[in-house]
């Protein structure tokens, strides 16, 4: 396996971790204003993700930072051609990030409502935008022979990518509802469970539309090898099975299944991209690949050493932080405001 492939796999893994982890905290943020109008309950909801969301977001920072180092041309194209998308994404992440810190710092209903809706918007918009970005990866964007983007903003938004945006929004919200049912008690747990049950149908529906649409719109399933179809098959079956687990109140298993769906969907996308990183819709030969965008082998070697040391450490201490805060959050527990 060449070092470019290793880094492609690592970046795909970072994005997978990001969507699984930030996926549920996006979902919690989206559900926040609808779960409750009571301040204490909203604070409890936020505290289910309070210690985690910042660390979760780090998987994105790491994915993009290592993309810059390992595949500078991918990074440069990825960031510049989706320009307006990133402006909206960054604006969302800014509001969401400060909202978690600011909302409880002032005891005024208007203030708190404003920041709660910022958490909602700052979670919902990125959830949609990530679907749009990833689907553009695989559907292809107009890239010419010299790796330059020749399209306009309008190219990024079309029925297919919008369906993908809605799908990711629904899946993340669903994932978040199940996470909430795992981390809360009493009325909040019931409400979260109800949301999860209601969300399953549209999530499933859109996920199926997305899958069928992907077959017609992209070359994702062009080769009908069993090994290639296995992963998307598992992810759709996992999603389908959630409704049974919810009916048995097995939130833990349900969460495992949505985790599998998100992880395997991300893996499918990256697996089918490989060795490309951005598909050219003009000419397959003009696609950006891990080879024509990568850094020198010396640089990739340095990065590999760094990654081998620090990624296991990150997994250990992030895992430890999840362990510290593994208990359910109740309204009687001391809430850190």
């Amino acid at each position: 396996m060449d070092v470019q492939t290793i880094w492609f796999i690592l970046i795909a893994a970072f994005f997978t971790a990001y969507f699984v982890l930030e996926g549920f905290d996006f979902g919690v943020g989206i559900l926040l204003p609808f779960m409750s109008t009571k301040d204490i309950e909203r604070r409890t909801i936020i505290n289910t993700i309070g210690p985690f969301w910042d660390g979760n977001e780090m998987w994105l920072i790491t994915a993009v930072g290592t993309m810059f180092a390992a595949f500078p041309n991918w990074y440069a194209t990825f960031c510049s051609i989706f320009y307006p998308v990133w402006v909206a994404m960054l604006a969302s992440l800014i509001f969401r990030g400060v909202a978690f810190e600011f909302r409880s710092k002032h005891d005024n209903p208007v203030w708190r409502n404003f920041w709660d809706w910022s958490i909602f918007g700052g979670s919902a918009l990125p959830a949609v935008l990530w679907g749009i970005v990833l689907s553009n990866f695989i559907r292809g964007v107009p890239i010419d022979a010299s790796m330059n983007y020749t399209g306009v903003l309008f190219n990024l938004f079309n029925p297919y990518t919008l369906v993908c945006g809605l799908t990711s929004l629904l899946i993340f919200t669903f994932h978040g509802a199940i996470f909430l049912s795992l981390k809360t008690t009493g009325i909040l747990q019931e409400t979260a469970m109800n949301f999860a049950k209601k969300l399953w149908t549209p999530a499933m529906l859109f996920y199926m539309i997305f899958t069928v649409y992907t077959i017609t719109e992209t070359d994702l399933y062009h080769s009908i090898e069993i090994s290639r179809l296995l992963i998307p098959l598992i992810s759709i079956l996992a999603l389908a099975s959630v409704i049974f687990m919810l009916s048995k109140n097995a939130s833990g298993w349900a969460f495992t299944m949505t985790t599998i769906t998100i992880a395997f969907s991300t893996i499918t996308i990256f697996k089918s991209l490989y060795p490309r990183v951005l598909v050219s819709s003009l000419n397959p030969l003009w696609s950006l690949t891990i080879y024509n965008t990568s850094s020198s082998s010396y640089t990739l070697g340095i990065l590999t050493i760094v990654a081998m040391i620090f990624i296991p450490l990150i997994i250990i201490y992030q895992g430890w932080s999840y362990w510290i805060f593994h208990q359910r959050i109740t309204m009687d527990s001391e809430l850190e405001y």
Binding site: A69, P72, Y75, P84, V87, I94, E101, I302, Q318
Partner: protein, 451 residues
């Protein structure tokens, strides 16, 4: 407006805005960690209240620093894609390491620290704020290692086809003299920012004679020592950095002094109104020999002037203007050292008061002491303006000009850029107003002795 100017404006606002929050994050995290260590040793509840109070202010600041940092990461690819492709092989590496080694630690342990008061043993809780402080310090190092490559490129080779630079030696890159002059200066700048922040708020409370007088006396005692050490370090490291600058970027050094002609011994400018067009003084007061002394620790020695450097660079890099904005570099340098001098006076004075146990502040003195928190902010921002404007016209010194680094307008056009600039300016406006509002509220509210 053209895309270059818009992209530069957006970068300038984002970088300066981001750096309003970074030094306080560094300085206040170390300060909070020190207080929590004292709490751990003494088990005196007073220190716990202090940790909570200063920690709370730290968190408000930290949140804004983190979110603006994300913009920094994307912005290099969004607006400077040609630059990103040119330097990614080198520049991307410290950025990636920063994420893997520093930022990740910081973001995870801040969650543990905030939510872990009742879940962790005291020692582990104190350790987690130290880890946050270490994370933000390391984070600064790696970002500065990347910036240092732009200032003084080392450890690289040109790719075969000349399309980009490639790393030739990682160790040379991270042992770049530039970063080992810049990093201590930035770190000390953070300590000073944190120290003055604590001094300012404590002095205000002592002036108002609020009920937590005793707690703020303790705070100002710690902060006086902390700020004093920081100020001395910031001056020494700044001096070392300027000496190094004369070797690596003589044009920036000459511009900062408005030194038009090569002089031996060279004079130090106290006050200059420059005429940038005809490269001469409109008005100037200069100290003879002083610049040579600062550069070489002796009163003679040649310092190259702007005009001669311009000629040398034209021979070396081809025709073009290699002179940065003299007004911006000269005055940002004056503001930085001016603020630094005032910081030295203030920190000495505070230390004197603390040693003499004089904790009463008259309305005038208290007000002056309060506003002194602005001094490090002025110095930090003008320091970066000097560093970045002084490097112009280069984005990577000697290798790539800023005008050649911007994303082609066929990809990001000026209306998209104008739109994003407005969006970001609005957001930064909202953030700074909210930040000040909350800081003020919590600073005035004082220390909660009962929970």
């Amino acid at each position: 407006m053209d895309t270059l100017l818009l992209a530069r404006t957006q970068f300038a606002f984002t970088a300066i805005f981001h750096f309003f929050f970074v030094p306080l994050t560094v300085g206040l995290s170390i300060f909070t960690a020190i207080l929590e260590t004292v709490y751990l040793k003494t088990r005196n509840e007073k220190y716990k209240h202090l940790v909570k109070f200063w920690g709370n202010l730290f968190l408000i600041n930290f949140a804004v620093g983190v979110v603006t940092g994300i913009v920094m990461e994307f912005q290099l690819g969004m607006n400077w894609s040609t630059y990103a492709k040119f330097v990614g092989d080198i520049f991307g590496v410290p950025l990636a390491i920063e994420a893997l080694l520093a930022f990740f630690v910081e973001s995870t342990f801040i969650g543990i620290w905030v939510f872990g008061w009742n879940k962790l043993p005291k020692a582990l809780h104190a350790a987690s704020i130290w880890i946050v402080a270490l994370g933000s310090t390391l984070s600064a190092f790696w970002i500065l290692a990347a910036n240092s490559f732009m200032q003084s490129p080392v450890g690289y080779k040109m790719a075969m086809n000349g399309s980009r630079v490639e790393m030739s030696d990682f160790l040379t890159l991270i042992f770049n003299t530039y970063v080992w002059r810049q990093f201590p200066h930035v770190l000390a700048g953070g300590i000073v920012t944190g120290g003055f922040f604590v001094i300012a708020i404590s002095a205000w409370h002592l002036m108002k004679n609020t009920k937590e007088k005793n707690d703020f006396e303790t705070s100002i005692k710690f902060a006086a020592i902390y700020a004093f050490i920081g100020t001395i370090l910031v001056i020494l490291s700044g001096h070392a950095q300027m000496q190094n600058l004369l070797k690596t970027q003589p044009m920036k050094a000459a511009a900062a002094e408005a030194l038009w002609n090569t002089e031996n011994p060279a004079s130090f400018s106290i006050f200059t109104i420059p005429d940038e067009k005809s490269l001469k003084d409109v008005f100037a007061i200069r100290l003879p020999g002083m610049l040579s002394f600062l550069a070489y620790n002796t009163f003679d020695g040649e310092i190259k002037g702007i005009k001669e450097l311009q000629k040398t660079y034209q021979q070396q890099y081809g025709s073009g203007n290699y002179i940065p904005s003299i007004t911006a570099t000269y005055w940002s340098f004056r503001f930085m050292i001016g603020a630094g001098t005032l910081m030295l006076i203030t920190s000495l004075f505070t230390l004197y008061r603390v040693i003499r146990k004089k904790y009463t502040f008259s309305p005038l003195l208290g007000t002056l002491m309060f506003w002194s928190f602005l001094l490090p902010y002025i110095a930090n921002s003008s320091g970066w303006i000097l560093a970045e404007i002084g490097r112009q016209p280069w984005i990577v010194f000697g290798l790539l000009k800023t005008e050649n680094g911007v994303t082609p307008s066929s990809i990001v056009n000026s209306s998209e850029l104008a739109f994003s600039l407005i969006v970001f300016l609005l957001i930064y406006g909202i953030l700074i107003i909210t930040d000040i509002f909350l800081m003020k509220k919590y600073a005035i509210a004082g220390i909660q002795t009962s929970e």
